[in-house]
């Protein structure tokens, strides 16, 4: 068995006031890939995520994740969500209102783990100053970052994102796309992203599956759709100590870069940056970047 491949083969009757069809899915996903699932509302995207998470017990079929059997209806095998190595970010974030940011993360921490990962996630997600705040005191974007961090505390094999940015405005969406890609690469995750924003999928996903009425009708693996890095609009800041600096949303990113690049821009000017990896970005000329 190839442990780098996970597969889901399942069927489920979806019948309610809005829809009536048979969900039948046979999909594979690869280790460390960011797979996007898109399609019209009600096509069964969230149901697939719930099947993967173990929150939808009615589905019949088989699910293996990186060599582990999580579900096999024929053999009566069904792992509860608690037994699956998953991190889920729900559309409404589902942060616990009675817990602070830090407590939300600590709640997710297995007893055998120490606090190091939490401290690291707070740092990476720029939440250090908010760790004592309660969810009601946070903006939508901040809540989303907490939800992402919380989903990673258990070091999941599979990160499941259910339209995580749909409730946010365009600027905040672009800003958070950086965090999603950073986390995906930094923690070598296998990620399933549900989204109906083509531009978001284009920027984030390695591969795209299109779902309609419970069937996968298109799979896009062409190199053109696979971004070489995440392209984002940022504000150029005056360089300091030989480091170039850009403002991306609330965050300031810094990196050494040749002097020639520095000479090309003025502080306050909007520039395109390409996130090459979690720690590295490059500034692109508008001419070079043909969207």
């Amino acid at each position: 068995m190839d442990h780098s491949i996970s597969s889901l083969n399942c069927s489920l009757e979806l019948k309610d006031s809005q829809r009536s069809f048979h969900l039948e899915v046979d999909l594979q996903f690869y280790e460390k890939e960011l797979l996007a699932l898109t399609g019209p509302s009600g096509s069964g995207k969230t149901t697939i995520l719930r099947i993967l998470a173990g929150l939808e017990k009615r589905a019949k079929g088989r699910l293996t994740v990186q060599g582990e059997l999580w579900q096999d209806s024929a053999k009566g095998i069904f792992l509860a969500p608690q037994q699956r190595s998953i991190g889920v970010v729900f559309q409404d974030y589902a942060l616990f209102p009675n817990m602070s940011v830090l407590q939300n993360l600590q709640f997710a921490l297995p007893k055998t783990e120490n606090q190091t990962l939490i401290e690291e996630l707070l740092e990476v997600m720029d939440l250090q100053e908010l760790k004592k705040a309660y969810p009601r005191e946070l903006s939508g974007g901040q809540q989303q970052r907490v939800a992402l961090a919380r989903a990673l505390v258990r070091r999941p094999k599979l990160l499941l994102l259910d339209e995580p940015l749909s409730a946010l405005d365009t600027q905040m969406r672009e800003h958070l796309q950086v965090f999603i890609r950073l986390l995906h690469e930094r923690y070598a995750l296998t990620t399933l992203l549900i989204s109906h924003h083509p531009e978001e999928i284009q920027r984030l996903a390695d591969r795209v599956l299109v779902l309609e009425k419970g069937k996968i009708i298109d799979e896009n693996l062409t190199p053109e759709t696979k971004p070489e890095g995440l392209l984002l609009r940022a504000i150029w800041l005056a360089p300091q100590n030989g480091l170039i600096r850009v403002q991306l949303g609330d965050n300031e990113l810094q990196m050494p870069q040749p002097a020639k690049v520095i000479a090309d821009y003025l502080p306050g000017q909007e520039v395109w940056i390409r996130m090459v990896s979690a720690e590295r970005f490059e500034v692109c000329d508008d001419e070079k970047f043909n969207r």
């Binding site: 929150l55 729900f90 589902a94 209102p97 009675n98």
Partner: protein, 223 residues
């Protein structure tokens, strides 16, 4: 002395009843809130029955069921040495049944109004149903929890028909304040009746003030 014994007995009955209702009510309300069973309306109707039935009806059936002349009453007395008619234990049983909807309904409503993914988020973080209930769901329905406690307590303090039917009027055993008032009025002792009545007004008023204060704070804390 009789006055204080009666008041203490009333508060003891309300306290014990509320504690039992809390233990029984939480899992039942949780089940009712999340079940998809087609039998849900049947269970909801059963829980709500004491709201609409005259208390004397409940008291009457309890009296018939647990009287030493009935099969169940006789069996309890002979095998377990338990007698429920005209005892404090019988009063507790009657009060638990009578106040059941006052605990379950606020709790069920509290669970149903929580954001839908809260429990599921906890499960995906590896937490059991029990941990989820204890650390996520219950803290986030504190106002509903307080409502259930206060309503059950206040309702038990004020009940009359059920306790009279199953408990009678035995001083220091089953004679609660509402029975004592009725008793004193029947004997034309209006001063004594007023003493009981006024004490109950003050007690329940203080209790409700405390409830609204805590309830307001819980809502501010959570949302």
């Amino acid at each position: 002395m009789d006055f204080f014994n009666t008041l203490l007995l009333t508060l003891r009955l309300a306290g014990v009843t509320t504690a039992i209702l809390l233990v029984l009510g939480i899992p039942i309300a949780y089940r009712l809130a999340y079940t998809r069973s087609f039998l849900k309306p049947v269970f909801e109707a059963l829980v709500s029955l004491p709201l609409v039935l005259p208390p004397t009806v409940i008291g009457f059936y309890l009296l018939i069921a647990f009287s030493p002349n009935s099969a169940l009453g006789e069996w309890l007395q002979n095998n377990l040495d338990i007698r429920l008619v005209f005892t404090f234990e019988g009063l507790v049983l009657g009060s638990v049944i009578y106040s059941f909807p006052f605990m379950v309904q606020p709790l069920q409503s509290g669970f149903e109004h929580l954001p839908p993914h809260l429990a599921e988020a906890s499960y995906t973080l590896g937490k059991s149903t029990w941990v989820t209930l204890w650390r996520v769901l219950l803290p986030n329905i504190r106002p509903a929890l307080l409502s259930g406690i206060v309503l059950s307590f206040a309702h038990t303090v004020g009940e009359f028909g059920v306790v009279l039917m199953i408990g009678g009027n035995i001083p220091s055993v089953t004679r609660v304040a509402s029975i004592a008032i009725y008793d004193e009025v029947e004997a034309l002792n209006f001063a004594a009746a007023n003493q009981y009545a006024l004490s109950m007004v003050v007690l329940t008023f203080v209790f409700l003030v405390l409830f609204f204060r805590f309830n307001r704070r819980s809502q501010i804390d959570l949302f």
